[in-house]
Amino acid sequence: MVVRSYNDELKYLEKINDHCWRIKKGFQPNMNVEGCFYVNSRLEQLMLEELKNSCRPGAVGGFLPGVKQIANVAALPGIVGRSIGLPDIHSGYGFAIGNMAAFDMDDPLSVVSPGGVGFDINCGVRLLRTNLFEKDVQPVKEQLAQSLFDHIPVGVGSKGIIPMNARDLEEALEMGMDWSLREGYVWAEDKEHCEEYGRMLNADPAKVSMRAKKRGLPQLGTLGAGNHYAEIQVVDEIYDKWSASKMGIEEKGQVVVMIHSGSRGFGHQVATDALVEMEKAMKRDKIETNDRQLACARINSVEGQNYLKAMAAAANFAWVNRSSMTFLTRQAFAKMFNTTPDDLDMHVIYDVSHNIAKVENHIVEGKERKLLVHRKGSTRAFPPHHPLIPVDYQLTGQPVLVGGTMGTCSYVLTGTEQGMHETFGSTCHGAGRALSRAKSRRNLDYKEVLDKLDQLGIAIRVASPKLVMEEAPEAYKDVTDVVDTCHAAGISKKCIKMRPIAVIKG
């Protein structure tokens, strides 16, 4: 590891334009490609401050700063294009959260890294629309929040209310959302409006450890803890009227439901198992990385393939999980308004994944190439007419659902052609942490956080109030800054802004 002063480090960074910085080769050893990151002036300060702090003598422990992590990823074998940091980037295990990187499938040395997917495999956001308006929901929002809370178990160690046995789980892991469809939990149109149609075809439950399955079984249909939530939101602003109408959003004040969740303990176990296995593979294949946390294996090695198949199973788990919660949300709304989910027009607008690795074709240097695209804390954002997006969004581009933090607003963006060229069709995924969990616990008081939400008129139900300060808006970057940066940089386009009126949380 090179030790340099902050000013020396800055020599490797170059501001290309108002929203993008370049990380030159040499910033970290053995970089195969350059890095880059997207920021505006406020996010830029956070980014550089993090680097500055790590340059202070005696700074040890914790994760490396995000910029360093981007550069370390750029040193992985087989990476193509650039290692890209999105505006909501913050340090994580190995890869920063908000880092995307693509690896050439035709290069035998290319790697897959569980750190590049994250522990919460296929964590993602789903948005349901309704034909209700704020005036219909405001009077009953407390009851509705309670009803949602009763239907969807939340918190660490929560258990779901959809009965599952071991065989059901095996089938769900293989079939993803098709399982939910077969069992009648969701509608045919839900599958249509889901990334990958809610099923990774290469999933193989046999590659998943018993331990992961044991952890996962009781957790299907639960929200989980951490930054996961279900929110009742109202449309606050429509930037792109036509695209919004394609999504069934016609006017301000319309009520939507956002579900942010992942593969729970199941995905976590799959990632942990893979990291152990890969450490051995790295020794055998003599793969060297700048950071021990960047454990990886060649895509075509047994370990690489095992991971990809288990990861796909975890992705399917997450889709079944979100589908189960879709079912429960529809039930809760139908009971509250004494009607059917059909009559409430509770369609899925879209479902995005933001912790996943997928095989995609991209044009690199004028040639079409097959790549393994790692997106960790980054959302796919494909442009109009891309064959992998639903027919309903062929003219608008893929909807990108960006969840804010508890109490702040959320956004829907659409994918652009420019994003396809610059970032392999990727954009931000949320606000992104500004303070670490430990730091926010030290600095913030949970009562204050709850009071503040109350003042904003947001109904809230939490399983563990003492963890609330980890997720307080103050602990995060401003989601509006993040989204505006993506919009200004042209890698995705603003479409709708929503604000929450009720939150349920782990």
């Binding site: 160690g157 209310i161 069992e183 045919a188 249509e192 695209s243 007419h385 608008t396």
Partner: protein, 249 residues
Amino acid sequence: MLKQKLAALGHPSPNDVALSNRKEFASTILWLEDQKIRLYTIEDRDKLRNLQDMKLWEEAYLKYCSDLSMPALDTQLEQLTWIIGHAIRLEYLDDPEQYGSVQAEDIGGPKRNGTATVPQKVQTIFDGKINVDDKEFIAAVRQLATKLQVPHHPNHLLQLEAISRIVHERLSVTAKDRKPITGTPFPFDKGNDVVAGTDPKLDYPMRILRLLQIQNLRQLQTQINETIVAVQSLTANPKTDTKLGKVGR
């Protein structure tokens, strides 16, 4: 394409034919009649020679079109295309053997075989039961096309396919029962999509083609959804058991 056809017929200045000019158009028609088609005797062509008095010429042209039994075509371009096509056909029929040895691959054009001109749909429907090249059949297709205002195409079978599409989309029982589409229309040329950035002329037709493609995809997706729903009626049995639920710490 028109210019190439004119050049093939030996027109002295195919590159200078400007369709925007009616006089130019008239003189091209006259040239075709004089040199190639020769429907009228030389004396009868006099009226078509009235290039100085366009009013007289237009009258003569109207009669000429009906004498040629040209189908009702709206634009100047369509009419000229048809007349040139007619002239080429006559030229070919004068001496078919001369062209017998010419093969598409020899001149680098797209490869064609006999069946390529018959659209597959039409082929499977008639499957040899009807002689699709029968004069009466062709006349009936043309008549239908005129009635439904389907643009002319030299291959009557392609035209038949277009007719079938219109009947299916607009006139069939299911189409009549279909609920009118509600909601805000999506403007044709205002999407987020870049279509043909370099050539604005290509933009419009490409948008149309893409919309047709999207329409096809939508139909396919709807069929898939209907199939899933049909299967769901057999397999679906969603259950919940609130006793299983446990809220975390």
